[in-house]
């Protein structure tokens, strides 16, 4: 079964809300000061007072404090090289058996697993969990906790028993906090590196400042929020991109060389187009703070009315994206003022702060400026000669109302994998597809 749209009967948090699916309404409501996010009571224990759940001036103040992590210079000089190293290390973990050592031999891997391993490293370094990079034990401890950390921010979509799931998440996060997060935080504070560009360093500096009221528990919740917000959504974006690009590549006229070229923005467009079709959060919930009327359509909203803001359906609005809005077309040009990926990263106060880490930033003329982790990781798969395994169609998770690929078996070229693991940035000289 492949859920292609929000199943409102399976998503209780949306069931009683007024659905907004029109692109104009979605864009307006995301930027409106007349609504606020409707908090999920199941997720609150893991996230309260963390950036995603703050509102108004408090949110803006926190956002400005954390924005230093996403400045163009930090993205370019710190995060971009780190992302490439995470990709290199992850491809270096792929076992290339001696029997497949010839140039044309292939290795079958699960793209979901590799994409997650890459983003475990990326988010660990972004947060400042040095042990995840430095020791196998640290990396494995983090990987074991990743599922629960991811689940902490998406319980509203879960089809599992909420009480059981909450207890399981709490246990795993407590264990992760004791063995990974707190030692990393202590190390950050002992080192007192004023120039460190990771989340724990920034939070530790805020904690030590007389001007803030940070406490240790809040640092943990903020770190978990970033880890949860980054790993699963970015991993899914890589896998979704591959699931669209690989069948598209079957067309001989598709320019594979362009997708592999880091100076060409076609792959960026492919990733953005895939995100438009497969957003990490296909719907957001809001509650009206007052009676008001939407300027774009004249719809009247009552104070206290719950709204299901369907960013995923709005991203397929034919009036904005054309009659082929349901199809994958990276050459698409939306109408002026509309991002290619629509508003799947949110907008207004709750626009995803990590968008630039995942999707990079482009210059005003559309040329690539900074490449994000999703684009870099997806290009690595293509450089490794990725082919979809025709005998293994993707499988989908059954424990969530969202469309999430659970497994995508792909074949990689053994020589290209060795090439990537050795740290080479381009593809091998011979075509690997």
């Amino acid at each position: 079964m492949q859920p292609t749209a929000v199943d409102r009967t399976a998503s209780p948090f949306l069931a009683d809300a007024t659905p907004l699916t029109d692109y104009r309404e979605v864009e307006e409501i995301l930027g409106s000061h007349s609504v606020r996010m409707l908090r999920s009571t199941t997720e609150l224990p893991f996230m309260h007072d963390a950036l995603p759940l703050l509102e108004g001036l408090e949110h803006t103040a926190r956002r400005r404090q954390l924005a230093a992590l996403f400045r163009p210079t930090v993205l370019r000089e710190t995060h971009d090289p780190m992302i490439r190293e995470a990709v290199r290390r992850t491809f270096g973990r792929i076992e290339v058996p001696p029997t497949t050592a010839s140039d044309d031999s292939t290795i079958t891997v699960d793209a979901c697993l590799l994409a997650q391993q890459i983003h475990v490293l990326v988010l660990a370094r972004f947060v400042g969990l040095d042990a995840v990079w430095e020791t196998t034990e640290g990396r494995e401890a983090f990987e074991r906790a990743t599922g629960s950390i991811n689940a902490a921010v998406s319980m509203r979509w879960s089809l599992r028993d909420p009480i059981e799931e909450s207890a399981s998440i709490r246990s795993d996060i407590t264990d992760f906090t004791q063995h990974v997060l707190l030692p990393a935080l202590r190390a950050r504070r002992d080192r007192a590196d004023a120039g460190a560009h990771d989340l724990l360093a920034v939070l530790a500096r805020l904690h030590d400042s007389d001007e803030t009221d940070w406490d240790g528990e809040l640092i943990i919740r903020e770190a978990v929020a970033f880890l949860a917000g980054g790993i699963q959504s970015s991993s899914n974006a890589v896998v979704d991109s591959l699931s669209e690009i690989l069948p598209w590549l079957q067309n001989d006229s598709t320019p594979l060389d362009r997708l592999r070229d880091p100076n060409d923005d076609l792959l960026w467009r492919c990733v953005a187009e895939s995100l438009r079709l497969h957003p990490s959060n296909p719907a957001l919930n809001r509650i009206a703070l007052e009676d008001f009327t939407l300027k774009t359509t004249g719809r009247r909203i009552k104070k206290g009315e719950e709204l299901a803001v369907h960013t995923g359906l709005a991203a397929r609005d034919p009036a904005v994206f054309g009659p082929d809005a349901d199809e994958f077309n990276p050459f698409r040009t939306p109408i002026a003022g509309v991002p290619l990926e629509a508003w799947v990263f949110g907008s207004g106060h709750h626009a995803c702060i990590g968008r630039a880490l995942a999707l990079g930033r482009r210059g005003p003329s559309g040329v690539l400026g900074i490449e994000g982790s999703v684009v870099t990781a997806t290009r690595a798969f293509l450089n490794a000669g990725a082919n979809q395994d025709p005998g293994s169609p993707p499988t989908y998770r059954q424990d969530t109302a969202k469309r999430v690929i659970a497994s995508l078996r792909i074949r990689l070229n053994a020589r290209a994998v060795r090439h990537l693991a050795a740290g080479a940035r381009g593809q091998p000289s011979a075509r690997t597809r």
């Binding site: 803006t60 400005r64 924005a67 400045r71 163009p72 003022g337 207004g348 003329s365």
Partner: protein, 69 residues
């Protein structure tokens, strides 16, 4: 459109980047993460320019962008 002036209040900008997404030819984030207009006095290149700039100003979460005729 001719003569319109774009201002970004750097003390209000929260580095949300919504303006860059709505009007990428008119705004970019500087190395300090703060939005800056690429042209303080955009010319009337296209009829949609005013609309784009208005939308960028309206969508700014902190109201940091103002357009002055």
């Amino acid at each position: 459109m001719t003569g319109i002036r774009v201002r970004v209040d750097k003390t209000l900008c929260g580095s949300y980047g919504v303006c860059v997404l709505v009007a990428p030819t008119y705004f970019e984030l500087g190395d300090d993460g703060i939005s800056q207009p690429l042209r303080s006095r955009p010319e009337a290149e296209q009829p949609s320019s005013t609309d784009l700039l208005n939308r960028a100003a309206q969508r700014c979460p902190t109201g940091a962008i103002t357009l002055v005729s």
